[in-house]
Amino acid sequence: MASSISLWVFLYVFWFLLSGHTEPLLLGFGAISCAVVVFIAYRMDVIDHEGHPSHLSFRIIPYWVWLCIEIVKSNIDVAKVILSPKLNISPVMFKTKANQSRELGQVIYANSITLTPGTVTLGLEDGILEIHALTIEGAKGVLSGEMDRRVCKVKGKMEGHNE
């Protein structure tokens, strides 16, 4: 019930920011539509910790800042590779272990790898990531495990009861 209410509040804020209406009639319509959406989500049984990750703490924000810097760096690297006349790519495929204890952490890690250009996650099964990298340097960057450690740090704080 508590998560249904917080989902409604979240949806209503979202609705208001997108619409920008302040007339009482339209505000009422917005409230009703959000309530209908929450009801449907409740019926579909998708209001769980994954569909509504209210347990995601603010500790993820420093991680995002770090991730954005990494994205900028790898973008410049990939741009250099594309623009170099010789096109010196060395595509490589490999598997690596995600050390996060739960699926959400593993998905954050896999998504972060895909977000940085030059590396794409092809699959995630039982905590084993399959990765395709454009260059061998990109592959080594992933295998250095820095991103893995940082996600673990964020997730460790979020899942304090687990491990």
């Binding site: 994205i71 594309i82 250009p117 080594k140």
Partner: protein, 116 residues
Amino acid sequence: MDMIFDILSWFFILAGSAFVLIGAIGVIRLPEVFTRSHAAGMVDTFGTALILLGLMFQAGGFNLVLVKLVMIGFFLFFTSPVSSHALVRAALADGAKPLAEDGSNLEGAYKEKGEK
């Protein structure tokens, strides 16, 4: 002040466009679907982020337009890796062979049981 914002806005929009262009060149130059997906990933992370940043300076202060632009960026941040992943996964499922070396000998790579 408007002048500074205009210059910053121009700078970011032009830089974003440049990255979109480089991504497009990459999609043409790179050999097959998996390597091309890296170039496409450049377009939907840095390219769009820079263009959105440039547009934010044109929003004219702190208002709903700015909030909406931030939201677009926020949702792209979550949806674009999912779509790139779905794309390469679909290519794999369709039987496309990645033009890639086996990297299981790299330091730190996970090795399956039975493999040396």
